[in-house]
């Protein structure tokens, strides 16, 4: 499994945004390039300081995800059944969960050949999909789809579709199955940020 390079592109989103609204494609492309540079320059530090990668992720990637919407979508109809504090703590923990996942994968990043398909509109709410294909000799190409929304003039990621597997749908299925079998209270108590 070569997930390592999948999240390179997440770092790309962290590049400083120019005054004019960047297109969704340019956000992904430019940030990808910049992340490659960042990781190469900090290779030694990343090896010696395991916690540093999380700092990078938090600083560069996380601001460009709409975690509020993602948390709402991932819990589906259960979202409204949680109290506001529970919603907040869940969103916080969900973010941490993603940081954990991406940090580990980023550390195994290697040089890859990246290509892009033209972005396109998806669904009926004005979302766009940017598709990136990461190729490496001797391995299956990895496609990453970024479902993006334009929020407050900025393009933000609301879902990742890796090799046709939607991050949101996967966790949604897991969490909702969990809530259905174990109950809401048991579910929410399992998130450390939400522990009473």
């Amino acid at each position: 499994m070569k997930l390592r390079s999948l999240f390179i592109s997440l770092l790309l989103i962290t590049l400083p945004v120019s005054a004019e609204v960047q297109t969704e494609e340019s956000v992904i492309k430019e940030t990808t390039t910049a992340v490659l540079v960042q990781l190469n320059e900090n290779r030694d530090r990343l090896k010696n300081e395991p916690g540093y990668i999380k700092q990078l992720v938090n600083a560069l990637i996380i601001p460009h995800f709409d975690f509020e919407l993602m948390s709402e979508l991932v819990l589906g109809s259960y979202w409204q059944k949680f109290e506001q504090p529970q919603q907040s703590c869940f969103a916080s923990d969900f973010r941490n969960l993603l940081v954990e996942r991406y940090a580990y994968i980023l550390l195994s990043y290697d040089d890859q050949n990246i290509s892009y398909a033209a972005s396109k509109y998806i669904g009926n709410k004005g979302y766009k999909l940017v598709t990136q294909t990461i190729s490496r000799e001797g391995a299956k190409p990895l496609t990453i789809g970024y479902a993006m929304e334009l929020k407050d003039g900025e393009w933000k990621v609301v879902d990742l579709i890796i090799d046709e597997i939607s991050l949101l749908r996967s966790y949604s299925g897991m969490f909702q199955s969990w809530i259905h079998t174990q109950g809401r209270d048991y579910f929410i108590d399992n998130f450390s940020e939400c522990e009473l």
Binding site: M1, K2, L3, R4, L73, G76, S77, R101, S108, I122, G123, N124, K125, Y127, L129, G138, A139, K140, L142, A147, V158, D159, I161, I162, D163, E164, I165, S166, L167, L168, R169, S170, Y171, S172, G173, M174, Q176, S177, W178, T181
Partner: protein, 824 residues
């Protein structure tokens, strides 16, 4: 011209023509007998429309074949020593040379990952195996003892024995043909097939049968080749061969061997017994010719018709020998009696009187025996149905050949010498008659008490037989199965397939959240996989729980499932894997690794899981039916699955289905068979009282033989389960002969006491001769290596004794008490 006149004309006027005709028929049959085949494959044990067989085939097509050979290898040096690895390497390379082998799994080729600090992401790189020179052998040893995939499967727990698994190629053409046949059968169940469809179905059946034959032949050659390979390495290690194909092939060899050796052995023994009884060569040769002609005809007919003999019907020749011999002996005894009664009659007259007096009772014995075996035809197990038809054809052949050959040959011979006036056998049967006359009530009471006491053993009958119990402990099959059971995870495959629950198939939107996802992200041409049903932590927990339950069962050995794979993956990952990661691994794992680790246990869309378990055949506590029920109960009540989600299949299930069905069709229909025979008696004897009296010894024999089997703990398996039909068939013969004789003698003298003496001293002798010859002749079967054959010989002998006792003691005792009114 009456039928009998035509018969007389043929036998007496055209003796030579009849003989030539029979000889030519036998030559043709002999030629066709070259096409005679045995089939001991597992699939020969079930009906072709059996749903469980269809599902079993589907599972094999989806998840891979369970057709493999296992070579257990216990080296005399350390398992991982160079000496040992060289031997394993040699065997592996030789196995790969076999054309029908797709792949060989051994400790040389499996990746060492569990303890080798391999990360998940490194699975695409070249993985180390024992064949990699740089691999540390201690690491390999640790791997084989701890990796849940290899432990107790590739290597025994104590690390002393390994197994090479040679997996045969899947015959895709055969699967296609089977699917086509299944579709046509399904159509045929709904409506009548048109001419084209019928022709296609017939063509498919022939092709499938032909492919099966080729496969069996090929397997047999492969197994022989593998044994040669093993012989070349025996100086390095102790080895056994195992696997379902080997068991199948060896069972065929056992049966073939028994058919040849004991077929001839029984025949020779019978010849000796006949010589002892009758002291004349002609009385040995005549039955011999009748038996030989019947046997040749049957082998030829089976070869011509393409009817294969299975494990269940493999004793058909022994039964036909009994019946043909019985016919011949009755004719001989009658002829000799007439010689004494009519000293002035010509040789031809005596032959004619013999045939005319015996034609009707013999014809009816054959007909009622056909009724007894005809009950097999209504079974839903194909080999049982085939056995029924084989016996029906065989019985008719026995009758025709006996009634053609016996008088024809006898007519061509000189007049026989008068038999000795003093007849030891007559003396014996008269003594028995004396006992009956002396205390008929006592005999009835004893028989009733015996029936109740021994018959109670019927409640102890078990429809359960371990495969391993079919073979002597000295055989390779037995020893191989024991090693594989005790050290390498069990022998008989058992598969549990679990579908998603019913909500998975509900395509209506569950609620707003699905609309939200689709509204946000989905276009018509958008490709996005549905979340995997089973690849999420909650369901993986269920899988682990199911696997633990199966592994904790003492009669189940190795269990593999996607849960095993997840355990390994989480170890490589260093942390638990959530649903997203599992789904990604499922997608991204290299296909060669997926082929071994994932494809056999998870469907392509991850909606169906398969547990591959192996059952420990040698465990005495194994009760297949109970095991399957317990597993089903656990899955429904403890795991909370819907019953429709659960499918249990595999050779164990098919074999259990067959045994249970045999029990239902054989034992539970006994009452119906006995009633049918009673009705036949009514028609035959034209006397309801005689029919009622006649059925009693048959009920006595059936109850006693099943009771004895119960008390002796002889299980109802594929051979012994037909013993009830055989017992009734033999007892009915004796009953018909005796009552027919009774009616004949009653017409001459109505004194019941002397009636019994007269019957015993005439027909009683024939019954005695037949029974004694067969009891001792079949005792030879106890020398077989195939336990069911031994049991069959033993039970047949007991059945003859019971039939004789029933018809020479119980029946005449009842006649003496009841004194039925018989129309003269």
């Amino acid at each position: 011209m009456r039928l009998f006149d035509i018969y007389k004309y043929l036998v007496f006027q055209r003796s030579r023509s009849v003989l030539v005709g029979v000889v030519l028929l036998c030559i043709a049959a002999g030629y066709q007998s070259l096409n005679f085949e045995l089939d001991a494959s597992g699939e020969s044990l079930v009906l072709e429309n059996d749903e469980s067989l269809s599902y079993y085939r589907q599972v094999r097509e989806d998840y891979g074949t369970d057709e493999y050979l296992l070579i257990t290898y216990a080296p005399y040096t350390d398992l991982l020593s160079e000496e040992s690895l060289t031997g394993i390497r040699t065997l592996r390379d030789q196995l790969l040379q076999l054309e029908s082998v797709e792949k060989v799994n051994s400790i040389l080729d499996v990746p060492i990952i569990y303890n080798a600090n391999v990360k998940l992401s490194e699975l695409t790189n070249g993985l180390r195996t024992l064949d990699s020179n740089e691999l540390d052998k201690d690491l390999a040893k640790l791997e084989f003892s701890t990796n849940p995939f290899y432990r107790e499967m590739l290597v025994s727990v104590d690390g002393s024995t390994t197994a090479l698994q040679a997996i045969f190629k899947t015959n895709k053409e055969q699967f296609d043909l089977l699917n086509q046949r299944k579709q046509l059968n399904e159509i045929a169940a709904q409506r009548t097939l048109d001419a084209k469809e019928s022709a296609t179905l017939e063509t498919l059946r022939q092709k499938i049968a032909h492919n099966n034959s080729l496969t069996l032949e090929s397997r047999s050659k492969d197994i022989e080749a593998v044994r040669q390979m093993m012989n070349g390495e025996r100086q390095r290690a102790k080895m056994y061969l195992g696997g379902i194909p080997m068991i199948t092939a060896d069972m065929i060899e056992f049966i073939k061997h028994d058919l040849q050796v004991f077929g001839i052995g029984v025949l020779l023994f019978l010849i000796a017994i006949l010589a002892l009884f009758f002291h004349r060569i002609r009385w040995v040769l005549l039955p011999l010719f009748c038996c030989t002609a019947t046997a040749l005809f049957m082998f030829g007919f089976l070869g011509f018709a393409g009817w294969k003999i299975t494990v269940i019907s493999s004793n058909f020749m022994s039964i036909l020998l009994i019946i043909t011999l019985s016919l011949s002996v009755h004719l001989i005894v009658r002829f000799r009696d007439l010689q004494l009664e009519q000293p002035d009659s010509s040789h031809r007259q005596i032959i004619e009187d013999t045939m005319s007096s015996m034609l009707k009772p013999c014809f009816f014995t054959i007909m009622t025996t056909i009724v007894a075996f005809g009950s097999l035809v209504v079974s839903n197990i194909r080999p049982i149905i085939d056995f029924g038809w084989v016996m029906i054809v065989g019985l008719l052949a026995a009758f025709v050949f006996s009634f053609l050959l016996f008088p024809t040959l006898l007519n061509l011979l000189k007049a026989a010498k008068m038999p000795a006036a003093h007849d030891f056998t007559r003396h014996v049967t008269l003594k028995i008659a004396q006992v009956v006359r002396h205390s008929p009530r006592g005999i009835i009471v004893i028989c009733v008490l015996f029936s109740l006491g021994i018959g109670f053993g019927m409640t102890r009958l078990k429809v359960e037989n371990r495969f391993i119990d079919n073979f002597r402990s000295s055989t390779e099959i037995y020893q191989g199965m024991t090693i594989i059971d005790q050290q390498l995870g069990g022998t008989t495959p058992l598969e549990i397939i679990i579908d998603p629950d019913s909500s998975y198939y509900d395509t209506t939107p569950a609620g707003d959240e699905e609309d939200e996802f689709d509204a946000l992200f989905m276009d018509e041409d958008e490709q996005e996989s549905e979340p995997s049903y089973w690849l999420n932590p909650t369901r993986i927990e269920s899988i682990h729980a199911i696997q633990k339950y199966l592994e904790d069962n003492p009669v189940i050995g190795k269990v593999l499932s996607i849960g095993t794979v997840v355990k390994i993956a989480e170890r490589l990952n260093g942390a638990p894997l959530d649903g997203f990661e599992l789904a990604l691994i499922h997608k991204r794992i290299p296909s060669d690794i997926a082929a071994d680790l994932i494809t056999p246990y998870l469907s392509e869309d991850a909606s169906e899981v398969r547990f591959s378990a192996r059952v420990i055949e040698s465990d005495h506590s194994l009760n297949r039916k109970q095991l399957l029920e317990d597993i089903n109960d656990f899955l429904v009540n403890d795991i909370g699955l819907e019953p429709e989600q659960i499918h249990i299949t595999g050779m164990l299930v098919l074999y259990n289905n067959m045994l249970q069905s045999l029990f239902r069709s054989q034992i539970l229909t006994l009452a119906a068979v006995l009633f049918a025979i009673f009705l036949t008696f009514v028609v035959l004897f034209r006397n309801v009282t005689l029919a009622l009296l006649g059925i009693v010894p048959n009920i006595f024999s059936a109850v006693m033989i099943l009771g004895i089997m119960g008390w002796l703990r002889i299980p109802l398996d594929m051979m012994t389960i037909t013993i009830a039909s055989i017992t009734i068939g033999i007892a009915v013969d004796d009953t018909i002969h005796y009552i027919h004789r009774l009616k004949h003698e009653y017409a001459l003298n109505q004194d019941y006491e002397s009636l019994i003496d007269r019957c015993h001293s005439s027909i009683g002798k024939a019954m005695y001769y037949t029974s004694v010859a067969i009891i001792f002749g079949f005792a030879i079967l106890s020398l077989s290596n195939f336990i069911p054959t031994i049991n069959f010989g033993l039970m047949t002998g007991i059945a003859m004794i019971l039939a004789l006792a029933g018809d020479l003691l119980l029946l005449p005792a009842l006649v003496l008490i009841i004194k039925p009114k018989i129309k003269i």
